[in-house]
């Protein structure tokens, strides 16, 4: 059994990291390594099957699908990082202030957080995009806004757990102004769960980017994003080469899977207590099993 635990705990993170490094590399070097221009059309060669000159064939206006896939990595990654950044920029200060100041500020902030959490995120994001106008940047800012309450709530909880420590008291007694106490003493000791949460939000943001681009509110033509490419393939579902339906979806799935796996590993490694608990629980479960087998 120990074999499986090792495989599950360790190799998973390594494989995930390898895939993400590959995606990041592709995103960074897409213009250099892509065999063709991702937006150059060729109307005499549309919906071509994969061949030597077009590894994944061509789309409905004759653009090289493989090159678009490579460039799509750029767009999708940029979009999801943007969304998480927005979520952190709004959520962290709100959570810090609500937790540290308490009272009315806390009350109002948490009411607002609760009401935004009452919206299904994608629906609220669609509403905000409708107001701001479609486009990758607006779409991902909207996603970031809908994510920010969960960051704020987590941050507030962390601050509440941290602010009663003796060192915070000491800093205040020594005349540290409130903003300095927050930045120097509370934030560094409360930030770890936020880092883990950001990793997990990145995965959700990646899916959201794909979804919004798929329905036409995210990346606009001719920009290649994995979601937008799927949207084109979907319109030509019965005539486009089937690899064009599988490739972008598989790329999204693997990337999200990898981000999630790394986020989980990160959580385990940053939280030694949870890790120990899990190990203890596993040992107990094992024990219970052996007992059970011994009895029956």
């Amino acid at each position: 059994m120990a074999r499986f635990e090792w495989l599950w705990a360790d190799t998973r993170a390594k494989v995930a990291l390898a895939w993400l490094v590959l995606v990041l590399f592709v995103a960074a070097t897409a213009p250099l390594i892509a065999p063709n221009d991702p937006i150059e059309q060729n109307l005499t060669n549309v919906l071509a099957e994969p061949s030597g000159s077009h590894l994944l064939g061509t789309d409905d206006v004759g653009r090289d699908f493989f090159s678009r896939l490579l460039h799509g990595a750029r767009v999708s990654l940029f979009g999801s990082f943007l969304a998480v950044t927005v979520a952190l920029v709004i959520g962290v200060p709100v959570g810090l202030l609500a937790g540290y100041l308490g009272g009315l500020v806390d009350n109002v902030a948490m009411r607002v957080v609760d009401s935004i959490l009452g919206f299904p995120a994608i629906v609220l994001a669609i509403g905000i995009v409708a107001a701001l106008g479609p486009g990758l940047r607006n779409a991902m800012v909207s996603i970031g806004v809908t994510f920010s309450p969960s960051v704020a709530r987590l941050m507030r909880g962390q601050v509440l757990a941290t602010k009663n420590h003796l060192y915070v008291d000491a800093a205040e007694q020594f005349g540290s102004p409130w903003w300095r106490t927050i930045i120097r003493h509370i934030l560094p000791n409360a930030i770890q769960p936020i880092i883990v949460q950001s990793a997990l939000l990145l995965a959700v943001a990646f899916l959201a980017e794909a979804a919004l681009s798929f329905i036409g509110l995210g990346a606009q033509p001719p920009t290649a994003s994995w979601g937008a490419m799927l949207s084109r393939s979907a319109q030509f579902l019965t005539v486009s080469p089937s690899v064009q339906i599988y490739a972008p979806g598989l790329a999204i799935t693997l990337t999200v899977l990898a981000i999630n796996a790394l986020g989980d590993s990160l959580r385990d490694s940053l939280d030694p207590v949870a890790g120990t608990e899990r190990r203890t629980r596993r040992a107990l479960a094992r024990l219970a099993r052996t007992e059970r087998r011994g009895v029956t």
């Binding site: 669609i126 701001l132 329905i215």
Partner: protein
């Protein structure tokens, strides 16, 4: 119980106020004038004035909000700008479709997820568990609209088992409704299945490690009774929480999946309205979603107290 219900309802009011203010504010956060947004840059002065009047844009913001809430409270959500139809009647047609899809999706998530979670928990860290846990990791990572495309290609186009597009509600006959619902419902349930499996697994592992389980074994209860009766019952609070969460997740999933299957539900409406900047429709749909989620949360809150009398 009644007093509890009253207290909970009172607690919902601030949430509802802020949520409605957000929904109302949607059309005002953009850079452009809502009336111009709706009509495009080339609209005539009179037409803009007319729409400004129709949208009530000439009043101060808070007055507009007050009027809007007043109208909405009586069920008047205004008229769609594009379709020249009352928003409430658009929602009235779309809601049963989405509700059927969400109910089917939540049911599949629960019916598949709970046994899988129990299976994984009773075989924790063995190959079966690793397989189930990996499966649920994939379940939350697959973009549902892509899964929809793949399944439409395979099940509907190649094998011709079910229709690829469109929808039928229960009113169109049970068989027809089933044929149209099963595939999209499965697609919207994938992340739900994964979430339920994961949560039930965690809760069951904890419940199975409780000292009471040892006592049950000592007094000679069969393993099956312990798992399905005692441990499962002790995981009930987790399961109820997850089901509440599921409604929200599944509602979100239907939005994009509906458009892939060309299902005329709330999701398709809100996407169409967003592209056309038809704010009354967007506001109506979003408000309906929020009310559903709030209602579910309320029910969950009360369910907790019925399941576990220690919670007060």
């Amino acid at each position: 119980m009644l007093r509890l219900l009253g207290a909970r309802l009172a607690a919902v009011i601030p949430t509802l106020l802020f949520a409605t203010f957000t929904i109302f504010g949607l059309q005002h956060i953009g850079p452009a004038d809502p009336a111009t947004l709706v009509l495009g840059e080339n609209a005539t002065e009179e037409r803009i004035a007319e729409v400004r009047e129709q949208l009530g844009l000439n009043d101060p913001l808070l007055v507009q909000y007050g009027k809007w809430v007043g109208r909405v409270a009586t069920g008047d959500l205004g008229d769609s700008i594009i379709r020249r139809e009352e928003v409430s009647s658009i929602i009235g047609r779309a809601l049963p479709t989405t509700a059927q899809l969400v109910l089917a999706g939540v049911t599949i998530s629960v019916v598949v997820g709970i046994p899988l979670g129990i299976l994984a928990a009773t075989r924790a860290n063995r190959p079966t568990d690793v397989a189930v846990t990996s499966g649920s990791a994939v379940g939350v990572s697959v973009p549902n609209f892509w899964l929809a495309l793949v399944l439409i290609t395979a099940v509907a186009i190649n094998w011709r088992l079910v229709p690829a597009r469109g929808f039928a509600t229960l009113g169109d006959g049970l068989g027809e409704a089933f044929r149209h619902t099963i595939l999209p419902a499965f697609v919207v349930s994938t992340s739900g299945i994964a979430i339920v499996t994961r949560q039930v697994r965690g809760a069951m592992i904890e419940a199975l490690n409780a000292p009471s389980v040892r006592t049950h074994r000592a007094k000679g209860l069969s393993w099956r009774t312990i798992v399905w009766k005692h441990a499962l019952r002790n995981s009930a609070v987790t399961i109820v929480t997850v089901v509440g969460l599921l409604v929200n997740t599944t509602l979100g999933a239907t939005v994009v999946v509906e458009s892939v299957f060309a299902i005329p539900g709330m999701g398709t409406r809100v996407i169409g309205a967003a592209s056309a900047r038809d704010f009354p429709v967007i506001q109506g749909v979003v408000l309906t979603y929020v009310l559903i989620v709030l209602a579910i949360n309320l029910i969950i809150d009360i369910a907790y107290r019925i399941i576990d009398p220690r919670i007060s």
